[in-house]
């Protein structure tokens, strides 16, 4: 991409192609001999990481689309069956869902790197604007992808976001109708979102080609912000940048694999394991984490139209960055004030993200307004002002000078940024406390689960006992509709033989038909049948249970959660704690109390439960000591029943958990060795260049 190449392949067949289509020469000049500044640091590997993530997302997405059904009645089920029945379907889905988050992690680092080192400045304005366009396309793609599983958060997220457009005067309502294809979010909406979600990644890939093209015309920026002048300032792309990027990508994959194999639901929302229901709004509608700062800006502006404008201009303003910041010095390394404001800006973005996940009340609203002001002030006041008043430190003459000087001086500690981060931390802690105080229900106590941690396995005895408790107690009201009898004999499950599973199935009566006479009939269950539901439909379930339909239990341990608050959600990332669901289910089963404490009134037909949100639960106390007999001598207490049935329900929600953690361990061993090899190869390749 940088001028005609003089590359000539030695193979005659390749020469024949090269004369007709000089694609090898193009590749050679762009990715082999292309000169890259020799002072690039690891923040520059995120371009390669992003290309890698785009490739992963397209590849897994195309395979997922082969198994997915874009229909309002079938989408949720098709995703569940994909995870359960398709070979490595759980891996594909985790890679794609976590991959979206990782894509945004990488893009935010990439953007902040550009911001810090002034990569948007002359002559790279078009390069930067193309990047903002890619980011916008990514946001649209990510949003539409989140709608496809058709869970509660998918549906209500789609409702809230599409309604943003109704704020536009005159044409807003018709735009919303066009997005919906109906009078509300529904099946036509899902269909068009699926189509667009498949299309947009290829548009992104196209703009990425333009982005790389523009990059190779203007050349890469570098940490010192001085353009390469002589041969000595650059190294060839291959092997130097290639091997460094490979090392960067393999380190990034370690983080990616941590989520895929050990905490795939950490970044998601438990509500999205509840099928979409247009008649019930979840109490907190929260977008995916990567939209949270913009969601916070939207909510902090009290006027609806102004809020929408504020949110969109928070992104569009990036396009004008090359002209808002007129400072001649590119890199913040040589701009003492800009450097400090940069870190303040990062803290503002993180805090806005935190506020976006909090309910919009009290202190959060005020903090949101202050931070929204700070966000825009950085672009509209601080940067234009700094370019006039700041006295930058002298920049080195050339890149090679900078590389030589580097061995001597160490950068001074950034006191101000430390203060800012400490302040941010204190605010986090304080606000999390007030949030906890306002919630009211008790936090479920933690338990020791056999399936927790990186080597967790289901306790077979517990699974078998839990199945018995489910069959004798829970199954009277609760379905288990995503679990088939054959699953009982599968690896990583309760450990029954195929014959035992078939015998278990034949105890059930399953409705089949119509037969030749056109009648429905009942027959004994087969291993391929699913657990029959106790009620024919939701309305019947509702009517028989005083207005509250007992939820299906297949996914209940993933569909329930509770907020852990700061700093626990950060600690949980390292400890891999993700058993909020099982802890909650087990706590609710044991949380019934005969008498409500003073000051709590429980309506007629409801029961007091210590851990149920709002405390008034329609389910009467389901378990009592000695209710279910155990053959293996385990204690027949409520505590033991709760533990066993929760373990069983964790298995119904995550039948492939053992395979996931086992494969995860192997992948980690491989990645660590691979990253190590890449590191030492990189050291060898760069030995002469530092």
């Amino acid at each position: 991409m940088s001028g005609p190449s003089d590359y000539q392949p030695s193979n005659p067949a390749l020469q024949w192609i090269e004369r007709r289509l000089p694609i090898l020469g193009l590749m050679h000049s762009s990715f082999v001999v292309y000169p890259t500044p020799r002072n690039l640091n690891y923040w520059w590997t995120f371009g390669a990481i992003l290309s890698f993530m785009l490739g992963i997302q397209i590849l897994t997405g195309v395979i997922l689309a082969m198994h997915y059904t874009p229909h309002a009645d079938l989408a949720f089920k098709s995703v569940e069956l994909l995870v359960r029945d398709v070979n490595y379907g759980w891996l594909l889905r985790n890679m794609h869902a976590v991959g979206a988050s990782m894509f945004f992690v990488a893009v935010y680092v990439h953007m902040l790197r550009g911001l810090y080192y002034g990569s948007y400045k002359e002559p790279r304005e078009v390069l930067w604007i193309l990047g903002v366009i890619i980011y916008l396309l990514m946001m649209a793609t990510g949003f539409m992808g989140y709608v496809l599983p058709w869970g509660q958060m998918s549906f209500w997220g789609a409702t809230v976001i599409t309604n943003l457009f109704s704020a536009i005067p005159y044409v807003g309502e018709s735009i919303v109708t066009l997005l919906w294809g109906g009078y509300s979010v529904g099946n036509p909406t899902l269909n068009r979102f699926f189509s667009l979600h498949y299309l947009l990644p290829f548009l992104i890939a196209g703009v990425v080609v333009l982005h790389v093209w523009a990059l190779h015309v203007s050349g890469q920026n570098n940490p010192d912000g001085v353009e390469p002048k002589t041969e000595k300032d650059t190294v060839p792309f291959t092997p130097h940048a290639t091997i460094k990027d490979m090392f960067g990508v393999s380190c990034f994959m370690l983080l990616y694999a941590w989520f895929i194999f050990y905490m795939p639901n950490y970044l998601g929302d438990a509500d999205n394991y509840i099928p979409a229901n247009p008649g019930v709004t979840p109490p907190h509608i929260v977008p995916e984490w990567y939209y949270l700062p913009f969601y916070a800006i939207l909510r902090s502006i009290p006027n609806k139209l102004a809020g929408v404008i504020g949110m969109f201009s928070a992104i569009i303003i990036l396009c004008f960055l090359p002209w808002l910041d007129a400072a001649k010095t590119k890199s913040s390394k040589y701009r003492p004030l800009a450097k400090q404001f940069f870190w303040i800006f990062v803290a503002v973005c993180i805090l806005l993200g935190y506020l976006g996940a909090q309910p919009p009340e009290g202190i959060y609203v005020i903090a949101g307004r202050v931070l929204t002001f700070c966000y825009f002030a950085y672009f509209l006041i601080v940067l234009p002002l700094l370019s006039r008043i700041e006295k930058p430190r002298p920049v080195p003459n050339s890149i090679s000078d900078a590389v030589l000087a580097k061995t001597g001086s160490r950068s001074t500690p950034m006191v101000s940024s430390a203060i800012v981060l400490a302040l941010a931390g204190a605010l986090f802690a304080g606000s999390a406390d007030s949030a906890r105080a306002s919630e009211g229900s008790d936090k479920p106590p933690g338990n020791k689960w056999s399936f927790a941690g990186p080597f967790g396995k289901y306790d077979r005895g517990s699974l078998q006992r839990g199945l018995k408790v489910y069959k004798e107690v829970c199954a009277n009201c609760h379905g288990l509709s995503y679990v088939a009898f054959r699953n009982l004999a599968e690896a990583g499950g309760p450990g029954y033989s195929v014959a035992q599973a078939a015998a278990f199935a034949s105890d059930y009566k399953v409705k089949d038909g119509p037969n030749d006479a056109g009648d429905m009939f009942e027959r004994p269950g087969r291993p391929a049948d699913y657990f029959p539901s106790p009620f024919p439909n939701e309305q019947a379930a509702r009517a028989a249970n005083g207005g509250a339909a007992p939820p299906d239990l297949s996914l209940i341990t993933k569909a329930r959660s509770y907020g852990r608050g700061f700093p626990w959600f950060i600690v949980d990332f390292f400890t891999q704690y993700q058993e909020q669901g099982p802890d909650y289910v087990s706590a609710v089963l044991q949380g019934f109390e005969d008498k409500a404490p003073e000051g709590v009134s429980i309506p007629e037909g409801s029961y007091y439960n210590k851990y149920f949100p709002g405390h008034a639960i329609k389910m009467p106390k389901p378990l009592s000591d000695g209710q279910v007999t155990y053959d293996d001598g385990s204690p027949t207490t409520v505590a033991q029943y709760a533990k066993d049935v929760t373990t069983f329900l964790m298995w119904t929600a995550e039948p492939h958990m053992e395979a996931r953690k086992r494969l995860g361990f192997q992948v980690f061993i491989f990645l660590i060795i691979f990253a190590g090899l890449m590191y030492f190869t990189k050291k060898k390749v760069w030995a002469d260049s530092h």
């Binding site: 209500w156 409702t159 809230v160 599409t162 309604n163 943003l164 109708t177 066009l178 919906w180 294809g181 109906g182 009078y183 509300s184 979010v185 529904g186 036509p188 068009r192 247009p278 008649g279 019930v280 709004t281 109490p283 907190h284 509608i285 909510r299 009290p302 006027n303 609806k304 919009p360 009340e361």
Partner: protein
């Protein structure tokens, strides 16, 4: 990309029988995929809705303009919060009306916005009384 013919056909007017709805109760029916609240308001709710100074409201509209005269006890509104489209809960909030759990908007017993980020009152769908106990929505 506008709604197709079957979607439009499914959005035809519906008739709702009001006779089983006792005073103080309300029902939710779906029309065009939207929840419609039909409230049989009590005397107290009607009086509250009429006592307020219309000019002081964020979206000024009198209660009389939002119901059909002669059927003052019946309030028919689209149960979609005018802020960002969540479904408010009936009989909650400080104004004997609706409360939206998403961003805290509160509507009074006439479905008018009283507090919170929503910019407008709950819209009244097109409807008419075909008899004293039956309405047609649409």
């Amino acid at each position: 990309m506008n709604p197709d013919a079957s979607t439009i056909a499914a959005g035809a007017p519906i008739e709702v029988d009001l006779s089983p709805v006792a005073e103080g109760q309300d029902i939710k029916v779906f029309w065009r995929g939207k929840p419609i609240y039909i409230s049989h308001r009590t005397k107290k709710q009607i009086d509250e809705a009429r006592a307020v100074n219309v000019a002081s409201l964020p979206d000024p509209q009198s209660d009389e303009a939002r119901v059909k005269s002669g059927h003052d006890q019946w309030l028919v509104v689209i149960g979609i919060c005018t802020h960002l489209g969540c479904i408010p809960i009936a009989h909650e909030g400080n104004y004997d009306g609706f409360f939206c759990p998403c961003h805290g908007s509160q509507y009074d017993s006439s479905g008018r916005i009283r507090q919170g980020p929503a910019p407008a009152n709950l819209p009244v769908p097109p409807y008419q009384f075909v008899s004293d106990t039956k309405i047609q929505i649409g």
